[in-house]
C-alpha cells in the first residue's frame, strides 16, 4: 500500500511539474530547461528550513516555493533583457551550475544528499492524508493554469506569443509578463519540490538532474502543449513507463540510461513528427464562457 501511495504522490507531483512547465513554455512561449533546478531549490530550501531552523512545515514549504520564485526571476531578468533565446542558454547553465553548487556545499549534504527531513502530516494523520494533499494540489494547480490561460491574461499571452512587436505597439510590457509567468511556473515547481522533500524525507542532487528536464519536457510535448489535460496525460503516461521498466529487473546502471534514452528519444520523436502532442492544442485562443472570447465553429 505504501508503495502505491509513493507512486500516486510522484504522479501528482509530476502533474504539478508538467502543468507549471506548460505554463512557461506552452502559454508563455518561453524556452527553458531549468525546471528541475527550481524543483530542487524548493525541496532543499524547505527541507533545510524545517530541519535546521525548526520552521513549521507549511511555512517552510511556502518559503521553498518563494526561493524558487526569487531564483527564477533572478535568472530571467538579465537573460530576457538580452533576448528570449538567451534564457534557454542561461537556463542550461543555471540548471547544471546550481546543481554543481549543491553538490559541493556541505550544508546541503553534498553529493550524498540530505536526509532526516522532517515529515509533514504523516505522523499525525497517516500517509493517506499526504496523498490527498498532493492530489488536491495537483488538481488545484491544473485548474489554476487553465483559469489563467482562459482569462484575459491568457488572451494577452496568446497575443504576445503571436507577435511581440505588435504586442508592444499596444502598450504592453512583454518582458514583465514573461517574468511573471516564469516566476509563477517556477514557484509551483518549488512547491512540488517541498512536497517531495517532506514525504520521501531524502533528497539528493542526482534526483534533479537533466534527465528530469527531459522527462518533464517530454510530458508536456507528448501530452500536448498548451492544453489543460495534455500535461496530465503526459505525466500519467510517462510515470507508468518507468514503473513498467522496473518490472524488468534491470540493474541500475542499465535502468538509468534506458530511462534517459526513453525520455530524450520520445521528445525527439514527438518534436519531429508530432510537435503538437497527443492532445492537440488549437492555435486559436478560447476564452471562458460568459466572459466571452472566441468560439470557433
Amino acid at each position: 500500500m505504501e508503495y502505491l501511495y509513493g507512486i500516486i504522490i510522484i504522479v501528482g507531483l509530476y502533474v504539478i511539474l508538467a502543468t507549471s512547465f506548460n505554463l512557461i513554455i506552452g502559454y508563455g512561449g518561453l524556452f527553458s530547461i531549468a525546471h528541475p533546478v527550481f524543483f530542487a531549490l524548493g525541496a532543499y530550501a524547505s527541507a533545510l528550513l524545517a530541519r535546521e531552523l525548526d520552521v513549521p512545515m507549511p511555512l517552510a514549504m511556502l518559503a521553498g516555493a518563494l526561493v524558487a520564485v526569487v531564483a527564477s526571476v533572478a535568472l530571467a531578468l538579465p537573460s530576457l533583457r538580452v533576448s528570449g533565446d538567451y534564457l534557454l542558454i542561461a537556463s542550461i547553465g543555471f540548471q547544471l551550475g546550481m546543481l554543481e553548487v549543491i553538490k559541493n556545499l556541505r550544508f546541503t549534504g553534498g553529493p550524498g544528499g540530505l536526509t532526516n527531513i522532517p515529515p509533514f502530516l504523516i505522523r499525525e494523520f497517516g500517509r493517506e492524508s499526504y496523498v490527498l494533499l498532493v492530489l488536491f494540489l495537483a488538481v488545484a494547480v491544473t485548474l489554476l493554469v487553465r483559469w489563467i490561460a482562459r482569462s484575459d491574461y491568457g488572451r494577452a499571452m496568446s497575443a504576445m506569443r503571436d507577435d511581440e512587436l505588435a504586442f508592444a505597439s499596444l502598450g504592453r510590457d512583454a518582458m514583465r509578463m514573461k517574468i511573471v509567468i516564469f516566476g509563477l511556473g517556477s514557484g509551483l515547481a518549488g512547491l512540488a519540490g517541498a512536497l517531495y522533500a517532506h514525504y520521501f524525507r531524502f533528497i539528493a542532487p542526482e534526483q534533479f538532474e537533466i534527465l528530469q528536464s527531459a522527462a518533464i519536457l517530454t510530458m508536456v510535448v507528448v501530452g500536448g502543449l498548451r492544453t489543460t489535460w495534455g500535461p496530465v496525460v503526459g505525466a500519467l503516461l510517462l510515470q507508468a513507463l518507468p514503473q513498467m521498466l522496473t518490472f524488468l529487473n534491470l540493474p541500475p546502471s542499465v535502468l538509468g540510461p534506458i530511462q534517459g534514452m526513453l525520455f530524450t528519444g520520445l521528445v525527439l520523436v514527438f518534436m519531429f513528427f508530432r510537435p503538437q502532442g497527443l492532445l492537440p492544442a488549437e492555435d486559436v485562443w478560447h476564452g471562458r464562457e460568459g466572459l466571452g472570447g472566441t468560439r470557433r465553429n
Binding site: 484575459d152 508592444a168 505597439s169 502598450g171 504592453r172 486559436v284 468560439r295 470557433r296
Partner: protein
C-alpha cells in the same frame, strides 16, 4: 484646437552608412491629417520607427504634448498616447477580430494576474465597457458582422481596417498610419477614409504614410515629401503633386 501634439526635432539616423533620417523636423497638430509621401526607401517607415522608439535615433528628440519621449521604450510611448499601424498589418492570428480589438485597450485590468484571481467584478465591468467600444467601432467600419471571426478568415482590406481599429482602441492622441490603403479597395476604402477623418475631427493628430495619391489628396490637410531620408518639401497635397521636380524624384528611379 490646433495644439502641437507631436514634435520631431532634428532627428538623424543612419544604418551602415545609409542615411534613413536627415535632420527631420515635423509637427503634428491635433485635428489635422498630415500625409507623408515619397518613393520607396525614402525613410517614411523608418521615421515612424524612430518616432515610436522601435529604433533609436543618432540624434534629435521627439516630444509628445511637450514632454520628451527619448528615454521611453516603445510600449511606454504607446501608453502615453502614441499609436501606430504596420505596413504588414500584424494582427494576432490566434485571436478573433473582437479579441484583437479588446487587447488594443491600454489598461486592461484582466492582465494583472492578481486581478484575474481576486477582483472578478471589477474585471467584468471593465470588460463590458471595452466590448461596447469595440463593437461600436467595428459597426462604424461596417465590420460588425465579423466580430467573432478569426482575422485569418478575413479579406485583406478588412484585415487592414481591423488593424486601424485596434490602433484606435487605445484612445491615442497621435496616430501614425503606415500605408493603410495599400491593397485596399471598394467599401473598405471608403470606410477607411471616413474613419480617419472622424478620428481627426475628434482631435487626434494623424500622420499617414501612403502611395495612393487620391487618398492623400482627399484626406490630408498637409503633405510632406520625403526622399533619401530628408524632407524635401511641404505644402498642400495639390501643390506637391503638381511640382515636376518632386514627381521626377518619385518616379524617376
Amino acid at each position: 484646437m490646433t495644439a502641437n501634439v507631436l514634435e520631431v526635432r532634428e532627428l538623424n539616423k543612419s544604418f551602415d552608412g545609409i542615411v534613413v533620417a536627415r535632420e527631420i523636423n515635423l509637427t503634428l497638430q491635433s485635428g489635422r491629417v498630415v500625409g507623408l509621401i515619397g518613393p520607396n526607401g525614402a525613410g517614411k517607415t523608418s521615421l515612424f520607427n524612430l518616432i515610436t522608439g522601435v529604433v533609436k535615433p543618432d540624434s534629435g528628440t521627439v516630444l509628445l504634448e511637450g514632454a520628451p519621449l527619448d528615454r521611453l521604450a516603445f510600449p511606454q510611448r504607446v501608453r502615453r498616447g502614441l499609436s501606430r499601424t504596420w505596413q504588414h498589418i500584424r494582427l494576432f492570428p490566434s485571436l478573433s477580430v473582437l479579441d484583437n480589438l479588446l487587447i488594443g485597450t491600454h489598461d486592461y485590468p484582466g492582465e494583472r494576474l492578481l486581478n484575474v484571481l481576486f477582483r472578478h467584478a471589477h474585471l467584468a465591468e471593465h470588460d463590458k465597457a471595452a466590448r461596447e467600444r469595440a463593437s461600436d467601432l467595428l459597426a462604424r467600419m461596417g465590420l460588425g458582422h465579423v466580430a467573432g471571426a478569426l482575422v485569418a478568415d478575413l479579406p485583406y482590406g478588412q484585415q487592414k481596417l481591423v488593424g486601424v481599429a485596434r490602433a484606435l482602441m487605445g484612445k491615442a492622441k497621435c496616430l501614425l498610419l503606415d500605408e493603410p490603403m495599400a491593397g485596399v479597395e471598394g467599401q473598405s476604402y471608403a470606410a477607411m477614409q471616413r474613419i480617419v477623418r472622424e478620428v481627426a475631427d475628434r482631435g487626434v493628430a494623424v500622420c499617414v504614410v501612403e502611395h495612393n495619391v487620391a487618398f492623400i489628396r482627399d484626406l490630408c490637410d498637409e503633405g510632406v515629401f520625403m526622399f533619401a531620408g530628408a524632407i524635401m518639401a511641404r505644402g498642400t497635397v495639390a501643390d506637391l503633386t503638381r511640382d515636376p521636380q518632386l514627381t521626377e524624384l518619385y518616379f524617376g528611379h
